[in-house]
């Protein structure tokens, strides 16, 4: 029997992190956005073992500050896009600089230095990602999706979708549907 699952990566990772922390008996407080406050100072051995277990899940403990900030930027953006009480209607540059308490220029430069892509590009990718998810969910029309993601029109969304992925939203829908058919 086949089933299809969808998962919220963020909650999965958080859960894994928590479980691992608990199993490794590291006292902690979850601060959200991939931030954890460890109580006291666990031994190097514990930390090593902890890091090893985490790496099995593909989770890395980010070491340097820059990477940490970049990760924060990413997390903020992801939250901004995927969260249902939407912050997309605020200008993203403003939202980011306010949330992360740095100038947007600094954040932008740092981001491109580390990731080799721009924040804008990253935002677009996330929006398109969310669009794909919403299309697959099927309960919103393209117009509604366009509005939700702060596009000025369906045409605008379609244009960006096509620019980013190279295919139209309807083609995308068709392809995923046909893939499901094939798997039956």
């Amino acid at each position: 029997m086949k089933i299809f699952v969808k998962f919220d990566l963020h909650s999965v990772c958080t859960k894994v992190l928590e479980n691992t922390l608990n199993n490794s008996q590291i006292k902690h407080t979850m601060l959200g956005f991939g931030e954890v406050d460890l109580h006291g100072s666990p031994t190097e051995e514990t930390m090593e073992k902890f890091a090893e277990i985490l790496s099995e899940y593909g989770i890395e403990i980010v070491q340097d500050q820059k990477s940490i900030l970049v990760q924060k930027i990413k997390d903020t953006i992801i939250d901004m896009v995927f969260n249902d009480d939407n912050n997309l209607h605020v200008k993203s540059s403003v939202y980011l600089s306010e949330t992360l308490d740095h100038s947007y220029g600094y954040l932008a430069n740092l981001f491109s230095e580390v990731t080799y892509t721009s924040i804008e590009n990253f935002i677009i990718i996330q929006k398109i990602e969310y669009t794909k998810q919403l299309i697959l969910k099927g309960n919103l029309s393209l117009t509604e999706i366009a509005f939700k993601l702060n596009y000025s029109s369906v045409a605008h969304l379609s244009t960006q979708f096509k620019k980013t992925t190279g295919i139209t939203p309807s083609s995308f829908q068709r392809i995923i549907a046909k893939r499901k058919e094939l798997l039956k």
Binding site: T115, Y116, T117, L136, R174, I175, L182
Partner: protein
Amino acid sequence: MNENYINVVLADDDEDDRLFFSEAFDELKINTKVSTFNDGVFLMDYFNSEEAILPEVLFLDLNMPRKSGLECLKELRANQKFKDVAIAIYSTSSSEEDVENTFVLGANIYIKKPNDFKSLKKVLSDVVTLNWQYHTNGLNKDNFLLRL
């Protein structure tokens, strides 16, 4: 972007295309390790072997002797072992339906071989970059579809 390099494989029976491909990656700033195969059977033998280092992205030409790109695609997608490999169909022009069909069969990317070198470099760069974005940001690889 990464201390490590990105593994990239190309399967194409055309010598010139393999040349373009390698030169393009040479000139790109991304750290890549490029391997090429000129035949589908060799490709699958490699992938199925124990010592195979699976690439992040596999570029597949459709028209290959012995085993065509589509056959390789089907075989690869039937095997869970290769689910993390992004497969890009790298081909000369096809009809809309054929393009859609490659996606349906499990390709992530469809690339129409560009007519000039600059475009080729851009295309390859875009593919690798986007793929890496998916990889690092935990985006749903199942929905990763790109057409260039």
